[in-house]
Amino acid sequence: MFGFGTEYVGWAFWLPLLWAAILGVAITMYVVVDGFDLGIGIIFTAAYNDNWRDRMMFSVAPIWDGNETWLILGGAGLFCVFSMAYAILMPALYIPILIMLIALIFRGVAFEFRFKADASRRIWDYAFHYGSLLATFAQGIVLGAFVQGFKVQGNQFAGGTWDWLTPFSIATGLGLVCGYGLLGATWCVMKTTGELEIWSRQKAFQFLIATVVLMGIVSAWVPLLGVQIDRRWFAWPNIVVLAPVPLLTAFVAYRIYRTLEDGYAAAPFLLSIGLFLRGFLGLAISLFPYLVPPSVTIWQAANTVESQLFALVGYAFALPITFAYTAYAYWVFRGKVAEQIAAGGYG
């Protein structure tokens, strides 16, 4: 696997690798942490009453906006370090990213406005639900578009406005909705009590099945797309090294099912994160070293060594600080949400 980029030497070889790793961490963190609070929104309107919805929202209210920091870290890193990829990807994904941003606006203000409204409260229930749903779906479409690849000529996107819209990208969009729904439901299992917790376990189980089915469909679909990914997975000897990856997925999915049944609180959520990390690893193996598949590698897209080092100084401070305050916020708001919200938040 290491025939790539060897025409680059020294810093010019290692820095793009390091930056790809940093962006990988930022995107993974984003998918995991914003995944569960978007997932809360996905199952939000299915909850039986307002008390449940209050508790679900309280379980993420102190941390959700911090979670979105990772999206900014990822986007800014792409812009600073891989400007060329940024310039190709943004026009290619203009509409899905627009949808994502608008959806995130509505779901974000829903946190503020929902508690100010009585008569208009329903509006914000649905703004939160559909905002989360659409943002997730758009992210899933972006994921599918990545796997499909982008039409590039020279250093510019040469495809059409709607290239991203295919049956495959719709399948990945639905897949991500199910996946985030699973994260959200298992988060509720961990953070709530009583009937809401039991209901969350049922929801988690349903979303688990849907996630596994859609992961299977997408995985089976990829070789039919005619892209280069399947060559990496099915070529000898890679197939021996990579064969455990799908098996690991099946095992993790089974463990989520067992821990949901057996009444574990945190295990289903942590295992669901494991399922996502596994999916992300699979994607990274598939796409590396392309940043704009199938034509632009991380080395081709990278800015000058000076620019990369300059941005690295900033990230050397920003990343640890972000990790630290994220961890602190989760620590402060650990434990289950109280059943009677009016009586005082966390018990």
Binding site: M90, L98, I102, K116, F157, G345
Partner: protein, 162 residues
């Protein structure tokens, strides 16, 4: 360019007006009439949206002032345009316009309700301890719902554990 001349001076004027309000406040505080001087209170109220205005004017200064460049003297706007169709840009602009209209519309509505309601006396606050009195989100007065009796719901952040 003429617009840049005016928006820049508008921004600076607002900045000095803010400074002036601050100095005036210090003077009244020293005199002990800060909370009773109606002229000052009216001026403070009128200055409420000034920060918003200054930011907007500042952006106009930067964005209009640097034309026809996006990177001054280096890269012209015409050369920096992404290969995005006019249709797509029209859609995004229209969508943002509508979205902001809705969000600011509702925001102003809730803000107006909040202002009309006025501050509650502290004694009517339910919940225990000083934490219940702390507002934790931008549009929130501490521990109260907007419509309906005060304290029916806890907005914003839950209390820390233990």
């Amino acid at each position: 360019m003429l617009p840049v001349f005016f928006v820049f001076r508008g921004m600076v004027a607002i900045g000095f007006a803010m400074l002036g309000l601050g100095v005036w406040h210090l003077y009244l505080r020293w005199k002990g009439t800060l909370f009773t001087n109606r002229l000052f209170l009216t001026a403070a109220m009128l200055m409420t949206p000034s920060g918003f205005g200054a930011v907007l004017l500042g952006w106009f200064t930067a964005e209009i002032g640097r034309q026809p460049y996006v990177v001054y003297g280096q890269l012209r706007t015409a050369d920096a345009v992404s290969p995005v169709t006019t249709g797509a840009v029209t859609i995004s602009l229209a969508t943002f316009f509508v979205a902001y209209l809705i969000v600011f519309g509702f925001g102003s509505y809730y803000l107006a309700k909040l202002l009309r309601k006025g501050p509650d006396p502290v004694e009517t606050m339910p919940g225990a301890g000083s934490l219940a009195l702390t507002s934790s989100r931008p549009l929130s007065v501490a521990n109260e719902g907007l419509e309906g009796p005060s304290g029916t719901r806890r907005p914003g952040a839950p209390l820390p554990a233990e």
